[in-house]
């Protein structure tokens, strides 16, 4: 078992990376101190695969526990669904010392974290991510959220989990396209923070066929990077914005295609290619390193061009209405070297336009 400590001023917790860790959940919760009741929040598919193992582990550790299956999918990430978690918390009589376990991907993790942060003014939450994307990103860092009809994650809190338990074995059942999509965030960590990870990823012959030890290394390095950034800037006052690398263009692409054509990581992959070219065009980054990034992304079977029906005008307009835009100016996270990036870089519209045009097939 590998333990990555996350030492925030207000709370300390561990990320545990442990093959077969699902069976250790009950024992891991015992380490967190006094609690008797546990509510596991998940979705029907995940519960079918892992619910019995999780409940057995909790029972063996002496917990009274219950499960709640929420409908799967981003469109259920709403306050209405959170109210179902509140009701379940009431039904199994959670107390302030109880624990809610989020067993699932980013949607389950974000929503369950929000419910835990607001039930009885905060009960503990333990994240047990079941997708690669949630393992390397969403489950760490304490951002919780649900969608408002007029925007994603407009309602949420900063609320750190008491433990993140990562069991790489559960990735065996993950669809290949989702694994590939998550690799975009891993490559992102290499570009913005961890040059050694980037260079090592370049040496792997096939990111689709990772040995268990290679997968574990990817999880460890990604979790370490996310944890380091979050520890330095828990509430996104500055540095944490670096994690949005690739997300400005990426979100715009996801949005203009109504979140149907690309998975989140695919959007991020395209956004990183665009940001790399912007940085190179502005002379901030060497063209050769930008090309290495593009090659690594392509090698991970992720898209590096989008279809010509996605209009540059539509992308630019969408970027300008993003919720992070202050006073109308779009700012970018741009690499300066592999392993280092700048935040808040303004890009002249002509440069942006020509880069976006160059990437439409």
């Amino acid at each position: 078992m590998i333990r990555i400590p996350v030492a925030l001023p207000s709370s300390h917790y561990d990320i545990r990376i442990e093959p077969g860790g699902l069976d250790q959940l009950g024992a891991a919760l015992l380490d967190l101190g006094k609690a008797d009741r546990v509510l596991v929040v998940s979705n029907p598919t995940i519960l079918k695969h892992y619910g019995a193992r999780v409940q057995r582990s909790l029972l063996q550790a002496g917990f009274e526990s219950a499960s709640l299956a929420l409908p799967a999918g981003e469109r259920y990430k709403t306050l209405r669904t959170v109210e179902r978690i509140y009701q379940a918390a009431l039904d199994c009589r959670l107390e302030r010392s109880s624990i809610i376990v989020a067993l699932g991907g980013g949607v389950i993790g974000d929503m369950t974290g929000f419910a835990a942060s607001t039930w009885l003014r905060g009960v503990r939450v333990v994240q047990v991510p079941t997708t690669l994307l949630a393992m390397v990103d969403a489950a760490i860092g304490g951002k919780t959220g649900v969608n408002h009809p007029q925007g994603k994650n407009l309602i949420g809190t900063f609320y750190q989990p008491s433990l993140v338990l990562v069991d790489p074995d559960v990735l065996a059942t993950l669809p290949r396209r989702e694994r590939r999509s998550a690799m975009a965030e891993v490559i992102k960590y290499g570009v913005i923070w961890d040059a050694e990870l980037f260079r090592w990823l370049e040496t792997l012959s096939d990111l689709d066929r990772l040995e268990p030890a290679q997968l574990t290394r990817i999880l460890v390095r990604s979790c370490q990077t996310k944890a380091e950034v979050v520890v330095r800037d828990e509430r996104e006052g500055g540095l944490r914005a670096i994690l949005n690398y690739g997300h400005t263009v990426g979100h715009a692409i996801e949005s203009v295609t109504n979140y149907r054509r690309y998975l989140h990581g695919e959007g991020v992959a395209l956004g990183m290619v665009a940001a790399g070219r912007l940085a190179a065009n502005l002379g901030l980054w060497s063209a050769s390193e930008a090309a290495r990034q593009e090659a690594l992304i392509a090698g991970a079977h992720l898209p590096v061009r989008w279809a010509g029906d996605i209009a540059t005008d539509a992308l630019i307009e969408r970027m300008q209405t993003d919720k992070k835009v202050v006073t109308g100016r779009v700012r970018f996270v741009l690499p300066e070297a592999i392993g280092r990036a700048s935040i808040g870089v303004e890009v002249p519209e002509a440069v942006l336009r020509s880069v976006l045009d160059s990437l439409a097939d």
Copy 2:
């Protein structure tokens, strides 16, 4: 202007006590640093009295501002009403650097604090309490909350305001019964923490007719006590429970009379009388000090007996289902001396029963 600093590990803010302070709101917000937009959340009656002054003050300080009037009353303290605050935040395009002002009593303060703590993962909230009860209690300490159909304040957060602005002048329009009710919490601070305040209150001839300087002194001492307790235990891990003095029996009385017969402070007054007698019966507190407490409460025109139709059995049953009850045992905050109390005291049921019986008329 009197400034009481509240220095929490995670945040520092001031309680400003300032006659005429409503007109200084805009200037006070400028001191908080960068913000351009302000949303004022209130109710129709309060806006009628003070809305124009508040908006003028904000305008003069250069803020873009909007007001939202929510329906008045505890039964509107729900997630549905919070959604109206979210919608107003969207409509006036609040950003993370914006400020929400809660202008009202405890219901407005609790709900607005909750909305601010969860919008965009937290925008700043400034509390401008307009009732004596909110000034000495609810506006300070960062507890936010809304009711669930099955219980009060089950949904909420700990989220500190960026400023509490107390303008005693607004109390002129407060109904007399509400002022009296709030004095119960002031007397509570005297009993559990501030012996000097208690003795000084005993010297006042009529708590209904306070000079402005006397009222200010009451506000200052009450805010100081609340702030001291909160600084030592922000999240109610221990000491903060001392503030629940009088609330165990008080809540039960409010609850069995369906929150219709007694105001909150009246329930607390009755609860303090009961707790005082329990402490005296158990030999924890001198009978003479318990009698002085009862005399001060009666002198403040607050009830010290309840009607005989309130059955002791019903009260005891209600206490046992209180959300703070762990594993079925009711625990009390009991005074040991004027200015000092113990938390978590278990009371034999026979003693509890006889004290409750003695207080039913």
